[in-house]
Symmetry: C3
Subunit: 344 residues, 3 copies
């Protein structure tokens, strides 16, 4: 990048205090910034002064402008993080690969598929019968789109993604590399010592504005649908089993797993490596903390933590007492010994 501050002020709609002709060559974190770079501060009171670099310009909130403890160019906005994100978007658009619409002649597209002329299909893709690819969709190299699957407008599929048959992807979705949407659910009938596969003939339906990280597995329903609500963001290496229903605007962090037929409400946060049992309900606005296991019905707005999740404050108290257990145990042993002596 190479932008004058006056240009940046327009991109992010900020008031500039300083030298509009100053050239900025990079965006940096507040710790790493130097005189050629721009950064932002969200809340200066939470920031150790020693952690602040030497920025050529800072994006700050109007309220905090007088708290900056040194002289530099300032860009004043309501929400510095959002403004910084806008600047990143601008840089990304400038630098990223330009996709010209078109279908690679190295890909295999079924004659019965309906692929928009205004989309990009990279090389070595397979698009099966009756699949639909809408306008503005980007499907990068080595992707597989199964029969009857539907990719809505402006969604982006990174390389090496597998979308099996009868999967519906909403508009403006992003699916990162290595993810598999619509793999068979894990369902068997036990017959003495063997396990007989239950056919998995259901679907996966993914709402608009969903982002799915890399190497995620989302299984199709046995019958009916596995659902991911609009605006939900799924991190890497997450497992979502058959017939799970996830509400809108949830955050499902890396390596979390949700077992079969479980229902997750709206705006739920499931942190990293958490695990939710099958056939469980987690109501709206709940937070399941990292590594927490959930086995029962979770009421709206709960915050759970622990190997078997409990209310967070309760669990933190228990964890603190764990440290006292050796002391308690020693006391108990001594007390018991003393009393046994007394009894004699």
């Amino acid at each position: 990048m190479n932008l004058k501050l006056i240009e940046i002020s327009k991109i992010i709609a900020a008031d500039l205090i300083g030298d509009g002709e100053k050239e900025i060559k990079s965006v940096k974190s507040i710790e790493d910034c130097d005189l050629d770079s721009i950064s932002y501060i969200e809340n200066i009171d939470k920031l150790a002064k020693s952690k602040i670099g030497n920025p050529g310009c800072l994006i700050v909130s109007k309220k905090e402008k007088d708290k900056i403890p040194f002289k530099t160019n300032l860009l004043l906005v309501e929400n510095p993080k959002l403004a910084f994100s806008k600047l990143l978007s601008f840089i990304e658009r400038e630098n990223s690969k330009k996709y010209e619409f078109g279908i690679s002649d190295k890909s295999v597209i079924s004659k019965n598929a309906s692929v928009s002329s205004k989309c990009y299909i990279g090389p070595f893709c397979v698009i099966e019968d009756n699949a639909v690819i809408e306008d503005g969709v980007i499907v990068e190299a080595n992707c597989y789109i199964g029969s009857g699957s539907f990719i809505s407008a402006n969604s982006r599929i990174y390389p090496n993604v597998v979308i099996r048959e009868n999967v519906h992807i909403g508009s403006n979705c992003i699916i990162h590399s290595g993810s598999v949407i619509g793999g068979d659910g894990y369902g068997y009938i036990q017959t003495e010592n063997s396990h007989q596969k239950i056919p998995q003939i259901g679907k996966v339906i993914i709402g608009d504005n969903v982002e799915i990280g890399s190497n995620v597995s989302i299984d199709r329903a046995t019958i009916g649908e596995t659902l991911i609500g609009k605006g939900t963001k799924i991190d890497n290496l997450v497992h979502i089993a058959h017939n799970v229903k996830i509400g809108s605007n949830c955050l499902i962090i890396a390596q979390a797993g949700i077992a079969g037929s479980t229902i997750i409400g709206n705006q739920v946060i499931i942190a990293g490596q958490a695990g939710i049992s099958d056939h469980v309900i987690v109501e709206d606005n709940s937070i399941i903390m990292a590594k927490t296991g959930v086995m029962g019905h979770i009421k709206k707005g709960s915050i759970l933590f622990g190997f078997i999740g409990r209310p967070r404050m309760e669990y933190m108290k228990i964890e603190a007492i764990f440290s006292k257990l050796p002391e308690i145990y020693n006391f108990y042993k001594k007390f018991k010994r003393d009393n046994e002596k007394d009894d004699k």
Copy 2:
């Protein structure tokens, strides 16, 4: 689908009580079913009445037929779940892509590979020297089959699977997308501060009727073999390290991990996110519950639970007492304080 009840009764070998001419348009879960759909009930006593929809037909056991609390068409069988599964198989066969045998001319097949003329190889596959693909095998798009690997009859490999060299896959296996069979084991020799790779020249051998979920990693042995016994079913995102030996008909649920050289018996269940240490033995018929860590030898038929796995009932008791720890700790503090006063 569009099937008359008389047709369905033949497909699943059931006795029909009701209207054989009635047309069924879909299969649904018992909660969601409507007059155009068919569902099943496994055990009506375990089912809340409010959870039962309005089915056009129900598959039920002969014993339970008189317990159905409303009038509908019935199909009587010994095992309703199994019969329903049979119906799903029928629907799946009707609806699924028909694979015509043949090798895509977009794939790269070594002249030294032995590929049956009665198998399906999708586009953009690579099959290396001395690989063998038997009759009835389906290898979908973007798969890699390494040199010397053997895919036995009627196995199915979904798109974007990597099977490295010298891997043996049994017959009637299913391997889902994104899985990697035969990656190098994780083995190093520590030399001062660096780690020198130990070559991993062993194999992976997978028995008949094994199913492997999506994004699973099964490593090759350092020397000798990593073994997965016949009939074992592995869920998504599971890690199986080098030289692990797993018996037959095990269930290994999503995100579980098994470290190097560990031996798992037959009919063992390892639930989601569980982790088994290296060089450990888990004997037949054991159950390792979700998120449980296993560090020692586990005797036949054990059921383990907990961060460090203990017998399940023992662990549940401990978990229950965790809730009492604040009370116990307060009592202990007060008791100690009082007694210290008394001592003065």
Copy 3:
């Protein structure tokens, strides 16, 4: 293989005691070895005699040669494991696919990419604009190398790997199948109930001699870099979030996860299924044991264990007392009841 002992003694630079003309047909573990095979013993005192097979030759240390309790051919070296590993390397070189340098005409290479004439690019790869592939690199089938990415000399990329744009891979690295390097970091700005994506325009930089297992996800930085230090070895299904910085010669075992902006020192070991929170520092030489959760600053050389990691010895003591909790609780209940009676 088919090697005379005199040949093996030269390959691993060992002193032979026994019959140099003896032919060895395979390498085996000490348990499985037979008269046609060679194995090694690292420390005979740690080995149950019943576990020793019947080797045609044993590689042992000079110090231990008189402790071998039966007569067989011996190869004497300083470090038997290292010597055995050398022999495995020799066998691997003999048996493995010979890569002739060249670029598959089935791949799509940007005219603006710089690909050495002394590298191997398998079929169905995509190499984007301004990517650089140095001498001796092997990129196997179905790989994607994004624009501006750099693969340094002699690195090896197994099939179906995705390396997104602006990723730097050092020399002599190994990246196993299914891994995704440079996926977008998981970063959003919360705006009321929705989450707005923060563009992820940073890089991933991977040092020399790094090995990355299968189905690993390493995210690019938001801005700046995600760093993996030289010599670090990463096992399967590991998650490394945006802006994480990992030092040199670390071991990160399967299914571990490291959240955003966390800093890991040198020679740190993070065992299987462990999870490290975001914005945390783990200093040099620390060991995070399996399944352990880390939420705070970890000092140099710490060994942590537990759901919320504590010093290992402390945690083991607490775990041991867990077994006593039912006894303590019963005592407490009885004591309280008795005292309440007394009070009346």
